[in-house]
């Protein structure tokens, strides 16, 4: 009862946990909007990997997780497009995408 490394669900889930941790670290620590966007993509990837790992090892129908990951990829692409257009609009108005300088709404 000790299958090879790539047949254990815990390994995939641990990699996904690392991706989640890296994404959250980047979201907190980055100081430019594009860096935060990249960190958000890492979190999306972690979610996709979780879906695929549980789909492979415990789900009865192996097509469901793949469809879920396809939807996640589509949503991630739409999110990146919208976020980048907002970033470009912000840069056009402020000449900066540093988080510290975008404090006009701060009281």
């Amino acid at each position: 009862m000790n299958p090879v490394l790539f047949d254990r669900p815990g390994v995939y889930l641990a990699v996904a946990a690392f991706l989640l941790a890296a994404g959250i670290f980047g979201l907190i620590q980055r100081r430019s909007l594009i860096g935060m966007l990249i960190a958000g993509e890492l979190i999306f990837s972690a979610a996709s990997l979780n879906f695929m790992a549980l789909n492979r090892f415990v789900a009865p129908d192996p097509a469901v997780g793949q469809i879920a990951v396809l939807f996640i990829m589509g949503l991630a692409a739409a999110e990146v497009v919208i976020a980048l257009s907002i970033i470009i609009a912000v840069y056009r108005n402020y000449r900066s995408i540093r988080v510290k300088e975008l404090a006009e709404l701060k009281g």
């Binding site: 890296a22 980055r30 430019s32 990837s45 129908d61 470009i88």
Partner: protein
Amino acid sequence: MSAFPFLGPIATSIFGVAVAITVIGAVIAVFTRRIIRAVAGLALCALGLAGLYYFLHSPFLALMEILIYIGAVCVVIVFGIMLSEPDEPALAPAGRRELGWSALALAVSAALGGGVAYVSLHGPWPAPAAAAPAGDGSVAAIGSALLTTYSLPFELISLVLLVAILGALVIARGGRGSA
């Protein structure tokens, strides 16, 4: 298992390479100062993830991961970098608050990731259902499920993509009157 003698160790080492590429890519994506290197790290991470998807019996998703993440998302982010500013500002030398902020970020993410990783490595994962799986998970099965069971989310995602395209055009184009 197979006629070829060292199949198991070779597969395990390829899996290790995929995991290492994913982890190294994520670290590069988060820790570098220059944003363009972070995008390269994201692409590397997506390449490793494609390898992991291959080990999860889904070569279709491995292809899609490379196609969408490396081919579309990373390229779009590179265009966004070219249209805005390329670098993060350097760390302020006497940035005591910044250092505390980074330490807080590291603590939060390490606690969260460590906890989830501990649970997933030590949790009792049930064995796969012994009964015959409902489908074979092939591309044909995915396609027919997308057009029957999941046709509503499928149509909704196409609507979301359309609205995203239009919204991006409206937001980023900049009206005639804007500065």
